[in-house]
Symmetry: C2
Subunit: 345 residues, 2 copies
């Protein structure tokens, strides 16, 4: 092996376990690390250069102190999440330098991926690569699996989506319209509500921060009740939704962003409605469903190219902006899918 090139590798590390709402001070930019752009002989790992990192609620899962059986990340380890990357060095038979991929990476300039089987090759680099952190990546698959497989929508049904302008919600709303449903979204600002109506074609939308009574807001938007709820927030919104579900309704539980940051989780009081209304509430984790990714990717690419689907991103520049972007996500500061540009190529 010739002398291996060594580069600096700026990264964001976690400084401590979370004990309350996530704060930028929980993370730190480390400038002093380096990476060798080479692999030992026989290695099946790859080294990737990271282009975009995806800022998602689940990032907090890695930051909390886990119980004895489930510990994953210890403080001062690099933050992890989904991202879009370019292969720089490959020991893996299916990947070569220059390949574009998406999957789990570190919040750093270069990541060593010891098990590249979990990386997914990008088949449509003619589209913005950043889309693979969102509509063509994990959040897009989440919308697709949750809506079509768990909710089994029928034409004319009433669909409610919370956190509707986010990476997942904006797509669920558009899927619902394609399925012939009536769809209402909630979001946390008037700007986002406008986006839902003007850009994504929701039939109705409301700013939950301006509603005194979520139950009343839902009754106003759904005088006949809700058939399908795509659950992204949990807590008080779930309680209000349960009161407004119709017989035989389905709740796809994808996330509960309102609950990630609470030390004492909010109680949900109206679960009796699950019985009286014969509801089905089902949780899912999208990584169980990646075998269907290629079918999904082609479908969405086609919709994007024909402009049947709109998509809005909130792009922060530079790895250093990632901690603030994550904190902003839980404050609802992003408009559209939040991501961070690490490098453009």
């Amino acid at each position: 092996m010739v002398d291996t090139e060594v580069r600096t590798n700026k990264k964001i590390v976690q400084r401590r376990y979370l004990s309350g709402p996530v704060d930028v001070s929980d993370m730190e930019v480390v400038m002093s690390d380096t990476v060798k752009l080479g692999l030992p002989p026989g290695s099946t790992a790859v080294i990737v250069k990271n282009l975009y990192i995806s800022i998602d609620p689940y990032c907090l899962n890695f930051m909390a102190r886990k119980d004895a059986s489930g510990s994953t990340t210890s403080p001062l380890s690099v933050m992890i999440g989904y991202g879009v990357s370019k292969v720089v060095v490959s020991g893996h038979k299916d990947l070569k330098a220059g390949d574009l991929v998406w999957g789990m990476i570190g919040w750093e300039e270069y990541s060593l991926i010891s098990d590249p089987d979990f990386l997914i090759k990008i088949n449509h680099p003619e589209l913005p690569l950043s889309y693979y952190t969102g509509i063509l990546g994990m959040p897009g698959m989440t919308a697709y699996i949750g809506f079509y497989e768990l909710c089994a929508p029928k034409k004319g049904e009433f669909v409610f989506v919370s956190a509707a302008s986010g990476a997942v919600g904006q797509l669920v709303g558009q899927f619902a319209k394609m399925a012939g449903c009536y769809v209402v979204g909630s979001a946390g600002s008037d700007e986002k509500v406008n986006l839902l109506m003007e850009k994504f074609g929701f039939d109705d939308a409301f700013n939950y921060k301006k509603e005194q009574d979520l139950n009343a807001a839902l009754k106003r938007c759904f005088p006949e009740g809700i058939d399908i709820y795509f659950e992204n927030v949990g807590g008080a919104m779930l309680d209000a939704v349960l009161l407004n579900m119709r017989l035989g309704g389905r709740i796809a539980a994808c996330g509960m962003i309102s609950q990630y940051n609470l030390e004492k989780l909010e109680g949900v009081h109206n679960l009796m409605n699950i019985i009286t209304k014969r509801l089905r509430m089902e949780g899912f984790v999208v990584s169980d469903h990646y075998s269907k990714y290629r079918k999904f990717e082609e479908l969405i690419v086609q919709h994007l190219k024909s402009k049947e689907i709109a998509y809005v991103e909130d792009i922060a520049e530079g790895l250093e902006s990632a901690p603030a972007a994550l904190v902003g996500l839980f404050k609802g500061q992003n408009v559209g899918k939040q991501l961070v540009v690490v490098a453009r190529e």
Copy 2:
């Protein structure tokens, strides 16, 4: 029509809407009513003589003040619930005097059933007729549908049943053993716990009133976690169960007896587990499934005759005992299926 016989018709009426835990003073025995044992020409109604009435948690549904859209019972109307009866006068083509039936009746000696299509004929009067308030009636069907159809049990799975010595729970536990599952039940007294182990063949059982920490009790009973939870109680037990469910677990939500009597419903805090563990929680109402009743009836009759299934009843004598039996149900005073004998034939 010849002179129609008139009989006194003792009944239990509701005195007021519930505003707290149900109390015997919410109901009243009325001795002064009469019933004419005759029908106008052309009527398709039937008059039945009531033999057994079933005391079930859902009876409270009829006693609560409903919102404007859903009001059913007004105070001073007769209490209603399931029961076993004998047809005395019939205007209905499929029923004749002397037929034995079960279905919704009043808590009274005789009931006029204006829509007898909802009555189900009793095909096996050689078994105790009271069984049609329980193992061969609505609670039995509830156990059958909830366990087999919603939970889809597989051999070797871990099953937890709350309120396990009650009408539904005792049967779910026995179904679980037949399906090759490991089954644990909870109940509210040592006597009931013994019944679960000695009579119904549960693998393990605990008295929830003696446990400081329900989560710890479940961890002790299910070191590998719970695949199937048959939910009869709600509240704190559901919260503890959510912490102990395994990946891909199923929760059949049949009832939440702990919640019927609370003015302010308990919050359930651990719903995030529905997502992280990919759980499915599904509510059902057994009356949606009565098309499968005959298949169920034959199966259970066969199991009863071969003594593969055990069944325990708690029988109160006389219509006057019904209010105290209902109140006792919510205090867990019954051991086995609670019912009231109105008349033995």
